[in-house]
């Protein structure tokens, strides 16, 4: 089926041309060369500027083109599927500015919106050398001075710290710190005395080698009163809310990397002969690819639904973003590792197969689970939400069914996000989890009239009982928020998988009619893709719900068809530049 959110993504594909053509500005060959040289992809970023990619970073109400987060996600995915480094290098500006969209005044947001729209790169300076993800231990200070602030201290391992013309900086506004002791400041380097800041050297990295991962040190940098975003103690709150958006959009990087890796591995298998037959004819090899495709599709489903939820279930993003940012990158890492074993020696060689793309995409993608809150930070966020998720489930709180329906129905146009509705806590719990019993009942009703849906109905029933069991275990856990026990991290991972599965179920239910004909219909008919997705997600919980072999075969056939025709490996019908546009 077609999905309108890919319109700009396809337009970008047309503008950029076939990445396999070495003459294209944004080609695989060029990106591999830049990577060898640890060189920033400046010319490619300029091409993206010319395309106007940055308009996706500025909400419409502040003068930009960001009306639907899905457009932004899928367009960034197209960049990432060519090169994760470029996506990180260019997309960083959205992260840099997000605190302003979430916590700034209209005047501040319009000021930053104009800068971003004009192509000014903005960076987000949160972390420090000695403190990593422990933001409240931050030592950069902002001291009131002459009506403004003096900024002092060092931010390190900051993407685009050097190349960014402006940064949003998290700084301590009260000596005692604490959750109300930090503010976010919008710092334009051009407004600073040159001796009041300096750049720290670019760090060499294993992946995204061309990216500007560096730092910045402030020494009495004078900021104006209007540079404080929100109140002097609003920093942590606006950062945590901003992270709900950026963590959701991070899925674009994983999907793009996964698009690329799946394409490389599939072309490899189709072109290779072993033991007198094609590698893709060996059942075990085919299953590796089909399983990877199932993982890819479920990652796509979770990403699509989570990004749409920004606009329909805004107050629940604390749980949805943490689950997506945990699930999608870690599962994609594991999937790429399995494909690497299939590709074998070529994954080691720089020049043997598609410019050494496989090894590069694996290295590059590893950044995704590290930044914007790593795996542990996201699981910890979910652990923090255990009390409210369990309480709302126990009380039988009504889900926001309309919000779920709108998030999952891709043909529905959505109103722009209301950022003021972002909340640090999903007050009413998670509507996807609360709405699961009704969704499962709906599938069972469909299966009652259609035997071909029996596998999906069985898996959905298993999902429901698994979630109940999980709640019971979580309820029995001691609440020890000081030093989170390992068991809580394990449970958070399992809960994230169940939430992902609930999103899968909704996405299938709300679009199955629209997707019943046309390309990719084979994935949607008979519940093929959700049955595969539940197989994979329940396995991550430790529950067996095997999808029939025939469904894996169906998925493989679609994958072969999509990759062969230059289409995006996807639930949706999306043409890439390779298809000849």
């Amino acid at each position: 089926m077609r999905y309108s959110a890919f319109a700009d993504a396809e337009r970008l594909e047309r503008a950029l041309g076939d990445p396999g053509d070495p003459a294209a500005v944004f080609s695989y060959a060029r990106c591999a060369d830049l990577d060898d040289a640890d060189e920033f992809p400046a010319e490619i970023c300029r091409a993206l500027d010319e395309f106007g990619l940055a308009r996706h970073y500025v909400p419409v109400e502040f003068g930009g083109g960001l009306a639907d987060y899905q457009d932004c996600l899928q367009t960034m995915r197209m960049v990432a599927r060519r090169d994760v480094t470029v996506a990180v290098a260019h997309g960083k500006t959205y992260l840099g500015a997000v605190s302003v969209w979430v916590g700034g005044t209209r005047a501040q947001a319009e000021r930053v919106g104009a800068l971003v729209g004009a192509g000014v790169p903005v960076s987000w300076a949160l972390t420090e050398r000695a403190h990593g993800s422990d933001l409240l231990a931050g030592e950069v200070t902002a001291t009131p001075e002459a009506g403004g602030y003096l900024l002092d201290g060092e931010k390190w391992l900051i993407n685009n710290a050097t190349r960014g013309a402006a940064l949003c900086v998290l700084a301590r506004t009260s000596a005692g710190g604490g959750p109300r002791g930090f503010g976010v400041f919008f710092v334009e380097k051009s407004a600073l005395a040159t001796e009041s800041y300096r750049h720290l050297p670019k760090q060499r990295t294993h992946g995204i080698r061309g990216a500007d991962i560096s730092g910045v040190a402030f020494d009495g940098a004078l900021l104006g009163p209007g540079d404080l975003i929100g109140g002097p103690g609003a920093g942590l709150e606006s950062v945590l809310k901003g992270l709900q958006l950026t963590r959701t959009l991070c899925c674009a990087l994983s999907l793009g990397a996964s698009d690329h890796a799946l394409g490389v591995a599939t072309r490899f298998a189709l072109g290779r002969e072993l033991y007198g037959r094609g590698l893709a004819d060996l059942p075990a090899a085919r299953r590796v690819l089909a399983t990877a495709f199932a993982d890819h599709l479920l990652a796509e489903a979770v990403s699509v639904v989570s990004a749409r939820s920004v606009q329909t279930l805004t107050g629940e993003m604390s749980v949805l973003a943490a689950a997506a940012k945990y699930l999608v990158p870690t599962r994609t890492e594991a999937m790429i590792a399995r494909l690497r074993r299939l590709v074998g020696a070529r994954s080691l060689l720089r020049d043997a197969h598609e410019h050494g793309a496989f090894g590069k995409v694996e290295r590059d993608h590893r950044i995704v689970s590290l930044f914007d809150g790593n795996t542990l930070v996201n699981l910890n966020s979910l652990v923090n939400l255990f009390p409210i998720l369990v309480r709302t489930a126990d009380k039988g709180v009504e889900p926001d069914a309309e919000g779920v329906r709108a998030a999952a129905t891709v043909s529905l146009p959505l109103a722009p996000a209301r950022h003021e509705r972002l909340s640090l806590l999903p007050r009413r719990g998670s509507s996807f989890l609360l709405g699961l019993p009704a969704a499962v009942a709906e599938i069972e009703a469909l299966a009652a009239h259609d035997d071909r849906l029996a596998p999906l109905a069985a898996s959905a029933r298993t999902l429901l009982s698994t979630l109940d069991d999980l709640y019971a275990v979580i309820r029995a856990q001691p609440s020890v928020p000081v030093a989170v026990p390992t068991s809580s991290f394990v449970l958070a991972g399992k809960l994230a998988a169940c939430l992902g599965a609930a999103e899968v179920v909704q996405l299938w239910l709300r679009n199955r009619d629209a997707a019943a004909s046309g390309p990719n219909a084979a994935l949607w008919r008979n519940g093929v893709w959700p049955t595969l997705a539940l197989d994979r997600l329940l396995a991550a919980v430790g529950v067996s719900a095997p999808a029939p072999d025939s469904m894996y075969e169906t998925a493989f056939a679609v994958l072969r068809e999509q990759v062969g025709a230059g289409l995006l490996p996807s639930l949706f019908d999306v043409r890439l530049a390779e298809a000849g546009l």
């Binding site: 990593g132 231990a137 760090q203 072993l274 075990a284 080691l348 060689l349 390992t486 068991s487």
Partner: protein, 557 residues
Amino acid sequence: MSTNGMTTHGRKDSANDLEERFGDPYDEANPFGHAAIVAADERAELPDGAEAVLDEVGLNAEFVPERLGGRLTEVDALVRRLRPVFRRDAALGLGYGVTSFMAGLNVWLGGSDVQRKWLADALLGNGKVSVGYHELGRGNDLTGNEFSANRTGDSLILNGRKEVINNAGRAVAAVLFARTDTRGGGRDHSLLLVDLTRLDQERFRRLPRYRTLGLRGCALAGFEFDGCAVPDSALVGEVGAGPDLALRSFQVSRAVMAGAGLGILDAGLFGVLRFALDRRLYGRTVAELPHARSTLAGAYADLLTADAMVTAVTRALHVLPASASACAAAAKYLVPLLLEDAMNALSVILGARFYLREGEYAGFGKHMRDLPPLGIGHAGGVSCQLTILPQLPRLLRGTGDAAPAAVFDTAAPLPELDLAKLRLFAPAGDPLLAVLRDDGTPPAIAAELAALTDAAAAMSPRETGVAAGPAALALTERYALLLAAAAVLGQARHGDAPEGWAELALDRLAERLRPSAALPVFRPDAEEALFGDLVDRAASGVGFCLDRDLVHRSLAP
């Protein structure tokens, strides 16, 4: 109890000499420290002077049987002696010459006395020998090889290419797998030992070095032959004996290569522990966070499990040579997965620093990158699974004797390694698995053994080849996991493993065999005991493997 050669804290032997020469990896001024190794890696070179150190200690002698003047006696001891090298730099371990060992095995097994003597001398003179089984277009499918040797009079005429060959640019000799017939079946290929210094340079070319994305210091290149003649005497063994010799040599090299990765996890574990003890997060050290502690303890448990499996399999080559084929393949399949998973889990603790190619912990990222390709070009996971698969019904049939204590107890004397006793097909009843048929086996593991026994008995003969379905192939993984459990139990009974390890290790294997729907079993006491042992070893300069070797590496000041 393996107390021979133990000092108060750890074991001291010739490997320790190497450790001393290499010095503290965290000393930034050390020419063999992480900083220098990472810098060399950036230049795609081996660290300056490192090969000279290995020449000085005569590492190649470890690859040559004692009766030919070398020091190769027990395969498990070889793995231990290689550990300091791989712990330092996997590219050095492979680049210096583990491939020379792989090449040599074929000649020790099937070569003439003249060939053996010649090759032994070449190695003892610090020469490099390449091994060319594979062609890039054929992956692990040896029988599809197209490099050919045609007999003409008393010469063999070589045609074709060998690609992605370690040390092809500088090797003095090579063992090459060549097509000598086209009848079909298992007798179409032969092995040749070729003196590369005496070839017609018009008809032989060393191909340019490949650029590689991992193991960057290794010089992988290739050979091209264009009607190049070598004497008949280059044949190793009979014409057509190639697959038979190669598959028997693989049993040893697979076991050794599985063991090579242990040093990488040992180093990675130390690095992350060092970081965790030093770094403060949320008002305490990372090592005080429960999740970090159990990750470290878990990685340590898995390292010891991997070591137990490697130890059992390398010793089984001596004690149970007829049964070594499947278990060596199982070790080569499972051990890299265990190690890779452990490194992945550790990388999460290290956070952003594992991604940096500079700074104190840059060595971890490099190790993590180099671990997966270590097995590439040798025997990929699927080829190991395909070695096990056809044997599975036999291995699970019958209730033969359990492997004797000597398989596990590293202090027990071993019979001499006799490569001629290695068989391509094991007899019925796997002796390592038989260790699990015992009252002391945890019920979860015993149940999995029973299930695998049933599944293997029900296997269709059509499911035992390359066309096997995913369900059949998955059985080989379960076999490997059960073998690991047997190795853990054997080690617990006959070895000298740390307190808490065996129960934790068996839980972790059971969890891999059958994940828990709710929560896995947590054993906080065992975890704490293991974590405490880990910290003690790190503080007292003892390595993290079963043998407690002495190491030189410093915790943060």
